[in-house]
Amino acid sequence: MWRYLARTVAQRLLLLIVISIISHAIIHLAPGEPSQVDSMNPMMKAADVARIRASFHLDDPFYLQYLHWMRDLFTGQLVSFKDGLPVLPRIWGRFLNSAPLFLCTTLIVWTASFPTGIQAAVRRGSLYDRSTTFIAYTLISVPGFFLSYLLILAVVRLFHLPVIGLHTFGTEHASAPTQVMDHIWHLVIPSVMAALTGIAVLSRYVRSQMLDVLGQDYVRTARAKGLDEDQVVYSHALRNALLPFVTMFGFLLPGLISGSVIFEQIFAWPGLGLLGYEAILTRDFPMILTLNFVAAALTLFGILVSDILYALVDPRIRLE
């Protein structure tokens, strides 16, 4: 077990370094530089461009740039091209904004998908199954921002309530309960919108997984024992159907950064996704690279966690 852990962690670290080198290569080989973003600015003279390039090591060879980035990242000195502020504290601050949205979305997705999917599998071919199937496909197929805009439109028109941003403008001095309620309200709509596609995808997956398990011989054995249908479905079948979902936890974490770009943009939610989007717009290389690095690290960590969880829940798997 410990040897397995040590080996995989070492492998993953190596992978992480490879990934960061590749992302450096992609960004540096692509045309477009921070010094060009403002090329129309009459205040920007050739000397200024040269100064900027020098201060960000842009004239150094590729491997030196990479080493500079690495050194700055781990000493916490890495600063943004845009405003010269350290990168890591900003990422942390945005992470604190993203986390509630992410947790709320994930919670909604997982609590809604399982009952829906299980019911659809148990009542295969019924009206319930067919209508949830159709709704799920519709939700998968609709562009997320299209649906969100329609909903915002509806909420604003029908209830005259604001839904954009972390909280309503001008409530900074309101009483604590009002502020809390306001925060929750501003959290709920974006997370529901972001969750809809997730619910659709996951409930389909739960359904097919459940159907697969319900056709297994051991489910027939459970019925032959005289167990009632609830025990057969929720104890014998569900335990087996749940196993593959453990691996999905690993792929949840990176969604913290890249999954939310669209929704953070729509709802003006100052989270990690929006941070990345802004960084891309301004060619803020240190910020883009660090976010990418964090996302890859989160993915690798997530996969490790799922491997361990899988070994814990499935008696057939041993970590070696």
Partner: protein, 321 residues
């Protein structure tokens, strides 16, 4: 051997499977009686309806029982409400399956899977159930049961898994044990051990056994009576020795002819020409007539009923009419 009221009495059972292209008959009028403590073998090729017949006794099929009745200890199982049917399954009728590898739930320990039946039907407390499970594992010949009871199915061999399945099936001392090809997936040496175990359990508990198999060797050694099925119907039934000595139906004769005879190893084995007709395209007359070397006019037109050969030995063939 049949006593006044048989333990299980299947009468004129019809089972259909609904498919996209219409309903397909899998069982077409099967009647069977099994007395208490008796071993009855149901023999036939795969797809002949023998498993479907057995599964409809347990009501564990996706097909529909379109006609007929299944009386068990005086109750008609095919009309029993589901909650009462559940009290029969696992308690009054136990069942073991062909694939011990996949028939045990991989995420539960062996112990829990056996205790579950005991706690459900005999309302045993967890400790009592554990003790009973240990005793059962011991009885079915699993060495060091204290260790095995803590293990998961994947840690056991195929033969051991089948022993665990048997322990589960007989845990509540059922009156009837349905064994659906219990040895097909096992090694030949293990097969004999499992059949021996079934025989001793049957004698100890006084169970009746409905043995479904395609293995005539097993039938000869283990069963008292036998019914041969072909294309959803019973074509011949009677005492095992009558059928092995004086098979009356051409299909049964052909089956026996395809067996190697240890006393005459030089004899040529005979294959049955042709193939089983699809249940979608059954002929109007006898389903076997296209492959039968004795077929004559009535075979094409009418389906033969079971004609008496001698005593309770009966065969569905116009040659015996």
């Amino acid at each position: 051997m049949t006593t006044s009221t048989p333990l299980l009495s299947i009468h004129d059972l019809h089972v259909d499977f609904e498919t996209a292209a219409g309903s397909v008959p899998a069982v077409r009028g099967v009647s069977l009686d099994i007395g208490a403590g008796e071993t009855m073998a149901l023999v036939g090729e795969s797809g002949c309806g023998k498993s479907v017949t057995a599964m409809s006794v347990m009501r564990l099929i996706t097909g529909r029982v379109s006609a007929g009745s299944i009386h068990f200890q005086g109750q008609d199982l095919s009309r029993l409400p589901e909650p009462e049917m559940r009290r029969v399954r696992g308690a009054q009728i136990g069942m073991i399956f062909q694939e011990p590898m996949s028939s045990l739930n991989p995420v539960f320990k062996i112990g829990r899977q056996i205790e579950e039946v005991l706690m459900l039907h005999q309302r045993l407390a967890p400790q009592a159930a554990r003790a009973q499970a240990l005793e059962l594992l011991n009885r079915v010949g699993i060495p060091s049961p204290e260790r095995r009871i803590q293990q998961y199915p994947h840690e056991l061999s195929g033969g051991m898994k089948q022993r665990v399945m048997i322990a589960m099936a007989v845990a509540c001392r059922p009156k009837l044990l349905i064994a659906d090809e219990p040895t097909t997936a096992l090694d030949v040496t293990i097969q004999a051990q499992i059949m021996e175990l079934l025989r001793s359990l049957k004698q100890e508990f006084g169970m009746a056994v409905l043995l479904i198999t395609h293995d005539l060797g097993v039938v000869a050694h283990f069963a008292e009576r036998v019914a041969v099925m072909y294309a959803g119907k019973i074509v011949e039934q009677g005492q095992v020795r009558d059928i092995f000595k004086r098979a009356a139906h051409p299909y049964t004769q052909a089956l026996l002819g395809a067996l190697p005879d240890p006393l005459h190893p030089a004899r040529r084995l005979e294959a049955i020409p042709g193939r089983v007709p699809s249940p979608r395209m059954l002929p109007a007359g006898c389903a076997f007539c296209a492959r039968c070397k004795f077929a004559f006019e009535p075979c094409l037109e009418k389906q033969p009923e079971l004609f008496q050969v001698a005593g309770e030995h009966r065969a569905a063939c116009f040659l015996r009419a």
